[in-house]
């Protein structure tokens, strides 16, 4: 083993799938994104009227019901929403690619998905707290089978990737990435490498996540990263804006079909673009905040460019991590400037998070879908809610509305809490 034996193995994107607050259809979600229609709305969760976070990107109830109807057996037996989101997005990506999983070589098709922080429900603990306020281990040891179906004790991070593989009979490499918010882009990057190296021909890759539950709703508030204002939900997520006030959580999944070029050509597949480079890095700064100079982020982008064998000037568009937090947006802007130099002034840069909310571990999934569509259609969706320019965020963020421009190559960034960074590059496919 050990390395890419055949650099001629090219990897193309042949299928796109999503389940996000924008909807369950990729084309409808893309239309909304181009029109600047946000999926973020008021929180709709039982007993959460007092939650410190009230603006969230939720998959709508009707869409959830559609997912449940599509996977009734899994809906009845599987605990977490994210597992169902993963199944939906995977099905969409497979359908879109036209691959008949049943007729493909199962050993050459795999799955690589992101999974976020294990869900910790208050119900995992609450029922077993004794009158003195301590956890009653003895009673718990007799009653652990009563834990909630979404409990961390019933669900492990492998569940989404395993269930997708089992459902579609994909017997190739299968993995779960837990690199916080960099996870899905890393999953896509490693799936890309798996095909490049010849370990597989087809990979479903991306991520699924949901933390809209009582613990999740305070998770980023405790860290000081969440938007806790009572602003209009649709304008709560304001990446690169001077008045940005923190991240807005979203939920859902983005999964794509990556395929070896000849495999795709032989079956006449539609090709959205070619994955040409991937890179990752670590900040090694501190785990509580990103490096303000963006050194790690810049390294991630530079590594991806080097992997693709292209100069910075070849990139036309960047789908930024763009969380809408003070520190991230500034550091990412600086990292882009340091990586691209003068060319940074000519780049289009946007953030998809005002559209969907921050899908956390899964965020790189839908953002990859949008990036691939941009390369395929030469259109870029706007960055919503950027109405107060920040002199420290001084790139072209496409804030005025969707834009049409030739996009030969685009890069998508994802940066994780703690200091893990990932960048992936999609180029227009040329045979």
């Amino acid at each position: 083993m050990g390395g890419i034996k055949n650099r001629n193995r090219r990897v193309v994107v042949t299928g796109l799938g999503m389940a996000t607050p924008l909807g369950l259809s990729v084309s409808e979600s893309w239309d909304k994104a181009l029109q600047g229609i946000s999926g973020i709305g008021p929180l709709n969760y039982p007993d959460a009227a007092s939650a410190p976070v009230q603006a969230v990107g939720q998959v709508s109830e009707s869409d959830w019901n559609e997912i449940v109807a599509a996977f009734p057996e899994q809906a009845a037996t599987q605990g977490e929403k994210r597992t169902l989101y993963a199944l939906w997005a995977a099905r969409s990506a497979l359908d879109d690619s036209g691959i008949d999983a049943g007729n493909s070589d199962p050993g050459r098709s795999g799955v690589m998905l992101a999974a976020g922080a294990p869900i910790n429900r208050l119900e995992d603990i609450g029922p077993w707290i004794d009158p003195e306020g301590n956890f009653d281990s003895r009673r718990f040891s007799n009653e652990f089978e009563q834990v909630h179906r979404e409990s961390i004790m019933r669900n492990n991070t492998h569940r989404p990737s395993a269930l997708v593989a089992a459902h579609y009979g994909l017997g190739g490499p299968n993995g779960t990435i837990s690199s916080a918010c960099a996870s899905a882009t890393q999953a896509l990057g490693l799936a890309f490498r798996s095909i490049q190296r010849g370990e597989s021909d087809v990979m479903l890759a991306g991520g699924a996540d949901s933390m809209i539950n009582p613990v999740g709703l305070v998770f980023f508030v405790l860290l000081g990263a969440a938007n806790t204002t009572r602003d209009d939900p649709g304008s709560a997520c304001r990446p690169f804006d001077r008045k940005r006030a923190g991240l807005v959580m979203g939920e859902g999944a983005g999964v794509v079909t990556l395929e070896e070029e000849q495999h795709a050509l032989e079956r006449g597949a539609r090709i959205y673009g070619e994955v040409t480079g991937y890179g990752s890095s670590m900040d090694a700064h501190q785990v509580t905040a990103p490096d303000p100079k963006g050194v790690g982020a810049a390294r991630s982008m530079a590594t991806a460019l080097s992997d693709a064998g292209i100069a910075p000037e070849a990139v036309d568009y960047i789908n930024a991590h763009g969380t809408g937090t003070k520190l991230n947006d500034m550091a990412e802007t600086l990292a882009i400037r340091n990586t691209f130099g003068e060319h940074a002034n000519r780049l289009m840069v946007n953030s998809s998070k005002p559209l969907t909310g921050h899908l956390l571990a899964a965020s790189g999934g839908p953002e990859f879908v949008f990036t691939a569509l941009s390369v395929h259609q030469d259109r870029v969706h706007p960055t919503l809610n950027l109405t107060n320019p920040d002199r420290k965020c001084d790139l072209d963020y496409v804030s005025e509305g969707q834009r049409q421009a030739v996009i030969g190559t685009a890069l998508s960034n994802s940066f994780g809490f703690g200091g893990q960074n990932a960048s992936i590059i999609i180029s227009k496919y040329r045979q």
Partner: protein, 427 residues
Amino acid sequence: MTEDVVISGRSLATALGNSLDETWESLLAGRRGIRAVDTFEGTDFPCRQAARITGIDEQSLDLSRRESRIMDLHSFILMKCSVEAMDASGLAGLEGAAGDTGFFAAIGMVDYRPEDLTGGIAASRDEQGETDYDRFFEKNYREIFPLWPLSMLNNIALCQVAVRLGLRGENTVFSPHADSGLQAVAEATATIAEGRNRAVLAAGTGEKVSDASQARALLHGILDTRHQANPCQPFSVNREGSVLGEGGGVVLLEPRSRIIERGLDPAVAISGYGATFGQANPAQGTTGPSRDAIARAMKTAIESAGRRPEEVDLVIAHGDGTLNGDQQEWDAIDALFSTPRSKIRLYSSKGNLGNLLAGAPLVDLILAERMITAGVIPPVFGTDETESIAGSRLVTGEPLAMEPQVILINAFSYEGQANSLLIEAVG
């Protein structure tokens, strides 16, 4: 031709010792790290045994209270082993080396400590003892330590090590079962072979033994709830299940020429890898990989190294002592290595060390390297040859003197993933 990727530094921690030498000597002496543990004293869990680590904490690692407050056992193990592996390689002191070092780690499920949350929840109970979410959301969630969420992210342990050692290279955190440990090693190997980093740490740590991890393992149906005296008997006809173990390991991987330049003598190269998926019994959900998936993973690992099955001397099995898991694995091994020329022997560390989940493959890799350099295979604990479904293939009773040159390591998930890694002696 691609240059060999070799191990230049290693460190592990297990219930039999917080160093390779301690663990190795205990394995040769037939000692066992599994025992009834204090954590489950006074509880009624149907399995109250585990293999626990001692002596790795914030004091032993010289960590500040600020750092350690968001760490738990898995983070301590990862920190200790990563620092020691870097030191052992001689790379730690080299100018600029850490910045070009990557880090691929497998980390198990990270569970909350109930005491981190009980204050906020207890204060939010209504008169009927139910959680009043208004009380929780309005005020009482602030009883939770503000950085507690970081401690729940699988990746924070890796990031803390990166900060301590100044690592800036390529990286990924895989989770949560044993297959992810081999994935970390394989990805680290490829990263070096492809020239993207000059050195990469590959790591794996399991889960802390706790009420939550024990409950999860019981709900998955993998624990031995019958044998109170001698649980976890890999490949025994009497096996009833596994036992959780704490621990993990870290190796530093580098191109062979680079470590020879530093005067080190590499013993082992990573040469093959296979990864597959296929559930043994989908109707039961979490039964681990099928014999077909296991066979494909092993075959791919062997073929990707340009080897044939009969050239493999030893399989370090996943061998977790589960009824179905061991049978599937043995059936796959028996079929793949059935050629008359195969003299394959079989080993599992789990009877001694417990099931380290994501940490197991790294410990097995480090033990495999020692087996090659020492020319001896420790006996599998808890299984007699006469009771072994693998017959005399299984190393039982006494340490076996043999000089394995090619070793295959298996690691599986309870969701159906099967991974195999091939390593070879280099001289």
